[in-house]
């Protein structure tokens, strides 16, 4: 459950486009200081949800309070306390990184001196100081993402929205982006809501995850809770007497099956439950030669709740991103 007070509260948030229900009665509670992930494939309604929370889209139905303000009735107040890093690259290519940051600062009415200090500090943080005076059109994808991050932080937001912050980046760059986000979080203690279709990202960086599918939130919890919810860790045991071991496990209420010369079973809260099971086995004179505990992956969690694997959805969004990048280039 949320730590501290609520940064984002949504009730029955819905967006309908004609006959398409993009977001379907979404409820959210994100606590102050949380790093909250919306996980789901392309078209699940993540971006639309963020759009409504960031006052870009008007909800068809439902309410949302962001930073204590209603997104429909007090959008201007919401805009003051949030920072947004959209999916697209929004920096002006004809301007330098520095000029982009100064422009953003002026949109927030930040006084010039303060803006200069802040821009320099942010560029330093995302390691773009050397390229501050270079036009954005010559930035690489990773550099652009970092600049977008800096732009979203220029107003020291209390709540930061990141829409697919690592989309279209290679693995190393993705890791780098996340290390910046973590540092920012540590330094400024803001609430972060991000969308992603990378399960590892949600798993690694989020304090809580909401799994979205077809406009609905199908499950919310910490990564741990989500994994536990599908029946615990997977334990593999290699014993000398398979039949006797199975019997002992059955009396403990565990249904183990033989697989490839080993016993395999799901175990809730394995780190505390496993020692007792081992004690019971040894007490019955069974030798445990080898033991392995593995966590279920988020992929299995996702499969459990949506009936689909997330991997299938991944390719299409990468393609869409590449297409947009090409379109941008067509401009010059």
């Amino acid at each position: 459950m949320p730590e501290g007070s609520a940064a984002i509260v949504a009730r029955g948030l819905t967006k309908v486009y004609g006959r398409l229900v993009a977001v379907d009665h979404v409820d959210l509670d994100v606590g102050e200081g949380e790093v909250f992930a919306l996980l789901g494939p392309n078209g699940a309604g993540k971006t639309t949800t963020v759009g409504m929370l960031t006052t870009l889209l008007r909800p068809t139905e439902g309410t949302a309070i962001v930073g204590g303000y209603d997104v429909v009735r007090e959008p201007d107040m919401v805009r003051r306390v949030i920072g947004v890093v959209p999916q697209e690259y929004t920096a002006d290519e004809d301007l330098s990184g520095w000029e982009n940051l100064m422009f953003m600062a002026s949109l927030y009415g930040i006084p010039r001196d303060e803006a200069r200090r802040r821009a320099a500090e942010l560029l330093e943080m995302v390691e773009l100081s050397r390229f501050a005076r270079v036009k954005v059109e010559s930035y690489s994808g990773g550099m652009r993402r970092r600049l977008e991050l800096a732009m979203g932080l220029i107003n020291s937001p209390r709540i930061l929205f990141l829409d697919e912050p690592t989309l279209g980046l290679d693995v190393q760059t993705r890791a780098a982006i996340w290390s910046y986000i973590r540092r920012l979080k540590d330094e400024y203690g803001m609430t972060i809501l991000f969308t992603t279709h990378y399960m590892e990202e949600a798993d690694l960086y989020a304090t809580r995850i909401a799994i979205m599918d077809r406009g609905r939130i199908v499950k919310v919890g910490t990564p741990r809770e989500l994994k536990d919810s599908i029946g615990g860790d997977v334990v593999t045991l290699n014993v000398d007497n398979m039949a006797a071991a199975k019997e002992v496990l059955r009396s403990a209420g565990i249904d183990a099956r033989e697989y490839d010369g080993s016993l395999v079973f799901k175990l809730r809260d394995a780190s505390t439950a496993l020692p007792e099971i081992l004690r019971a086995l040894m007490g019955s004179g069974i030798q445990v030669r080898r033991m392995e505990v593995s966590e279920p992956t988020m992929d299995e969690v996702y499969l459990e709740y949506t009936g689909r694997r997330l991997r299938d959805a991944q390719a299409s969004s990468e393609e869409a991103f590449a297409l947009r990048a090409t379109l941008r280039r067509a401009r010059s």
């Binding site: 006052t55 870009l56 805009r79 003051r80 002006d92 004809d94 301007l95 949109l107 927030y108 937001p157």
Partner: protein, 288 residues
């Protein structure tokens, strides 16, 4: 951060300033947009020297032996009656000021379309700048560019021999700029209005090309209202360019019979109407 206060004009200058930085970084574009009006001035204005038509050198009617003095006098009289000045070049030069303003202001919508296409607009819409100020800022940038370009055209015209009226004062220039400002504000807002929902720069270009010439030729930029057929005159009296031309000719060239109150009232109404409409429409057309 949330305690920061924002005035009603918050963001207008921030948005305008971005456009202007992009503009003066590329002097090439500045130069390109000057080519057309300067060509009109230098070629058309100089070649179509109507004043010359009515001088003794071109008016030689066999059998009619009028002293050249009389013909010259007659020519001047005709020019004054039709154009209000004796040389056509100055008449045209004044018209070219509105021309360059039209030319520049029409582009106002393009930057909005690009911002929308590239996603920049989505970013801008999450900042505390009111929707109306986002577009008015673009309008303001367009006005500043237009006035800067008009100054260059005015300078070129003077170098090529534009003659002002006797007793010209600084106030006349101030009035000229006011007229151009109002015209530009109205036109910029109009073209931004057309671009509010658009994502297609092709269609915006089409609109620009479509209305460019008609707007120019249904005004008194090239010829005075008196010379027009009645149907064209009926159209021209609605064209704001007619009013800015008239005001500027009255102020700079001393063309008689100009009603400055009417001119400025019309231009002010034009600017206020479209700027107001733009601000109003932006509120709900930019949000989805």
């Amino acid at each position: 951060m949330s305690s920061r206060r924002y005035g009603p004009l918050h963001g207008i200058w921030a948005v305008a300033n971005r456009e202007l930085i992009k503009w003066y970084k590329v002097p090439f574009i500045m130069g390109i947009s000057l080519v057309q009006p300067v060509l009109w001035l230098a070629l058309f204005g100089k070649a179509m020297n109507l004043g010359n038509l009515f001088t003794s050198s071109s008016l030689q009617i066999p059998g009619l032996d009028l002293p050249s003095q009389v013909i010259d006098e007659l020519g001047r009289d005709i020019m004054l009656r039709v154009f209000g000045v004796t040389d056509y070049f100055s008449f045209l030069a004044a018209g070219m000021l509105s021309f360059i303003v039209l030319f520049m202001s029409m582009n106002s919508g393009m930057s909005l379309i690009w911002d929308r296409r590239l996603g920049v607009l989505n970013k801008l819409l999450t900042t505390p700048v009111p929707r109306s100020n986002l577009v008015i800022g673009k309008s303001v940038a367009s006005v500043i560019k237009s006035l800067a370009q008009a100054s260059v055209v005015l300078l070129v015209a003077v170098l090529l021999g534009m003659r002002f009226r006797a007793g010209l004062s600084a106030l006349d220039f101030l009035g000229t700029y006011l007229a151009l400002f109002l015209l530009s504000m109205g036109l910029s807002s109009l073209f931004l209005l057309l671009a509010l929902r658009s994502t297609s720069w092709e269609s915006q270009m089409m609109i620009m090309n479509l209305v460019n010439m008609p707007l120019l030729f249904t005004s008194n930029s090239f010829y005075p209202l008196q010379m027009m057929p009645w149907w064209l005159r009926d159209v021209a009296v609605f064209n704001p360019i007619t009013y800015s031309n008239e005001a500027i000719r009255g102020l700079l060239l001393g063309v008689p019979g100009v009603n400055l109150y009417l001119d400025f009232a019309y231009l002010a109404a034009f600017a206020a109407l479209f700027t107001g409409l733009l601000a109003l429409m932006a509120r709900w057309m930019l949000s989805r």
